[in-house]
């Protein structure tokens, strides 16, 4: 098994190192890193804004570039949170706790330096996991009938909506809303139109790009405009030689890195627990094993390294269910999957065998991309720091242009640009009411496939709904769903004992209510 994996990987490197693909991978990480650094641009906004750039490309370079944007944005987000105390990106909220104090002590460069190393190690482990676990999962998944696929999707949807930020109940609401939005347009099975209200433009359904840009672009800008507190640029003057960690620093961060990797990879195996939860759990765990837990929050290098490693390891791990089962764990993965579908590729267990170039090329490009990032981040750190100074009043109007032209370029259709306005307004109202719109995209992407499989399962079972619990594999997934809900209920009903780890030292996260993960159900008992 190892030898096939290695030969496949070798093939992947062949794909990823083709000059054309390599170039787009490089462009992806560069742009992702650049946009990720910008304060106020989260990964969802970054990916959805840059998604249209890939329309003209073939599938392989497009997915390599998008994945590059994703982990490039992660590296960028760390810079923003360490130097500015701005958690532009939820997983990095924990990094602020110790990263910013380090910056204040003049050790921000070192924090960035170890972050780069930590991220690389975390990512490498995640990739290794992907190489060996994905084929196993695929082999199991190929046995699945519609009923199994259906209950697995249900599990993914439930996990994605209840384990994410905010109230689980509201998360489920958003998933249902997304499922509904996905059902707009022509019904695949019967050909009748649903919820189009006579608009022929809606026959093909709501455009994914319009949805993503409305919810994560326009709605985000609406909640951030004129709300950005002035950025403290005092510490952003980081030079290359400041970044070199001392031997003692490296020694101190070695074991936290290992622990972070383990936490991250475990979190990525549980569907729905993305990098945010991984980083919080890693921080809490690190604090627990530390000999000096009281010093956390004052600039402990362990507190920077461990969550960063966990984040990156879990992000790479998140690709496993997305690519091998076609079931994304969070909204970012849903967007990537949506991008594949735009390219005409059907996600699911057959993807690896039908498009080995995409899967193995992607895996190989992760490594290449991460190496590029390390090389890129070290000398360019000065430029990234300068970019932190770009004021929001220049940023969001330019981003609005990208939103408009991006949606237009999806289908050369002005109507869909109009959809953005409606969805943006909806997204903002939902944000204000305490909903986190990320699960909407999850439901939207999975919706049509869920319905199709549900119908097929029902047809095969002659309308017998118990098929989901009488077939063993499906029953396991249903049981996991029940378990998930039961745990959620338990955590809700139990009186809250201790405030979440981050609540204390976060300072004032100035951007939006989305930034602070208020609910971390899996934090180990403290």
């Amino acid at each position: 098994m190892i030898s096939t994996a290695l030969s496949d990987l070798w093939f992947g490197f062949g794909v990823a190192l083709e000059p054309h693909n390599l170039m787009w991978c490089f462009v992806g990480v560069l742009v992702g890193n650049m946009v990720g650094v910008l304060p106020g641009m989260g990964p969802l906004a970054t990916i959805s804004i840059l998604l249209p750039l890939t329309f003209g490309m073939k599938a392989v370079p497009a997915i390599l570039m998008l994945a590059g944007i994703l982990y490039g944005g992660q590296y960028g987000g760390a810079i923003c949170s360490i130097l500015l105390n701005l958690p532009c990106h939820p997983p990095h909220a924990v990094t602020c706790l110790d990263g910013y104090p380090m910056t204040k002590q003049g050790r921000g460069g070192v924090a960035l330096g170890v972050t780069v190393i930590a991220s690389f190690i975390g990512a490498s482990w995640g990739i290794t996991e992907m190489i060996f676990l994905s084929p196993l999962l695929v082999r199991a998944a190929l046995q699945f009938g519609p009923a199994e696929v259906c209950s697995l999707m249900l599990l993914g949807l439930l996990a994605g909506s209840t384990l994410a930020r905010g109230s689980p109940l509201k998360g489920v609401c958003m998933t249902v809303l997304g499922l509904f939005l996905g059902s707009i347009g022509t019904d695949l099975e019967t050909g009748s139109e649903r919820f189009t209200f006579g608009l022929t433009e809606l026959d093909d359904g709501v455009e994914l790009i319009a949805l993503a840009l409305g919810l994560f672009g326009v709605a985000e800008f609406m909640s951030s405009v004129n709300q950005m507190s002035p950025i403290n640029m005092a510490y952003t003057n980081v030079r290359l030689r400041d970044m070199r960690p001392t031997l003692a620093d490296l020694k101190r961060s070695f074991f936290p890195m290992c622990r972070g990797t383990i936490v991250g990879s475990l979190c990525s195996l549980i569907p729905g627990t993305g990098p945010t939860i991984a980083s919080f759990v890693a921080y809490a765990a690190e604090k627990k094993v530390s000999k000096t837990p009281e010093k956390f929050g004052t600039g402990m290098i362990e507190g920077v390294v461990c969550p960063e490693t966990a984040t990156h390891s879990s992000i790479q791990g998140d690709f496993i269910p997305t690519m091998s089962l076609g079931i994304p764990g969070d909204a970012v993965m849903a967007l990537l999957l949506g991008a594949l579908m735009i390219q005409g590729i059907v996600p699911g267990p057959q993807l690896i065998s039908q498009h080995p170039d995409i899967f193995w090329g992607l895996v190989a490009s992760f490594w290449i991309g991460n190496i590029i990032l390390v090389i890129l981040n070290v000398p360019l750190i000065g430029i990234w720091c300068k970019m932190l100074a770009i004021p929001y009043r220049f940023l969001y109007p330019s981003a609005m242009f990208f939103v408009c032209i991006g949606v237009y370029a999806a289908n050369n259709d002005f109507f869909q640009v109009g959809e953005v306005v409606v969805l943006g307004l909806l997204g903002y109202v939902l944000l204000r009411l305490g909903f986190h719109p990320a699960p909407v995209v999850l439901g939207f992407v999975l919706g049509p496939r869920f319905e199709e499989n549900f119908r097929r399962a029902m047809l095969i079972a002659r309308g017998d709904i118990t098929v989901f619990v009488t077939r063993p594999i499906s029953a396991v997934f249903v049981a996991m769903c029940v378990l998930l809900l039961a745990t959620q209920l338990y955590f809700r009903l139990r009186p809250p004992k201790i405030k979440p780890v981050a609540a204390g030292g976060e300072g004032s996260p100035p951007i939006s209510p989305q930034m602070s993960p208020q609910q971390i159900p899996v934090t180990p008992a403290e």
Partner: protein, 185 residues
């Protein structure tokens, strides 16, 4: 999850009572975010379910196009009720649930500008081409910022237009004329 404690018939009842809040409990109620969240979900769910049931429902074995949406609508109504019911539990002051649904300093003008930005892009892009569309889109969005001046706004719009047109029209070949007149598309 808290549906067991729910003992009214939904927000419609509550809303009628809101007109004359007599007790302090009711006054608390209207201030609760969750109450509105639940209400909105119930409204959306009702809309989906009612519209969805006009399509053919079919049976479980042969589902019609209306089956899934109706089911989703009903589910959304139930979830909305559960959320609204959660708002009935008195929340401690200062917690997130007691916040007003508007932010502390509402940015009506900025919101309007941001929402108008795609509208202007559609209008100018459709009838005058990509460059005017881009300019209008960035211009109106930039006006939303409190510190925006005419000069900075014009400069920003021009810069974005030049680079944007170069990137999307020449480099990425988006099929949209740079300048046109009267919607030649």
């Amino acid at each position: 999850m808290r549906a067991k404690t729910f003992n009214t018939n939904g927000p419609e009842d509550g809303r009628e009572e809101i007109v004359q809040p007599s007790t302090s409990l009711l006054r608390d109620l209207v201030r609760k975010k969750d109450f509105y969240s639940g209400g909105l979900m119930i409204l959306i769910g009702l809309g989906i379910a009612l519209k969805g049931s006009t399509y053919r429902l079919g049976s479980l074995m042969h589902m019609g196009p209306g089956f899934m949406p109706t089911a989703l609508g009903v589910l959304l109504v139930l979830l909305g009720m559960a959320i609204a019911a959660g708002a009935l539990v008195p929340a401690e002051a200062g917690s997130e649930e007691t916040q007003s649904i508007l932010p502390e300093n509402p940015q009506w003008w900025a919101w309007f500008c941001i929402l108008m930005s795609p509208v202007l892009f559609v209008f100018f892009g459709r009838y005058f081409g990509m460059a005017p569309g881009t300019f209008a889109c960035v211009f109106i969005a930039a006006l939303g910022d409190r510190t925006a001046t005419w000069k900075s706004t014009i400069i920003l719009s021009t810069v974005v237009t030049v680079f944007g047109v170069a990137l999307f029209s020449y480099f990425l070949q988006v099929p949209m004329p740079i300048f046109t007149w009267g919607g030649g598309l």
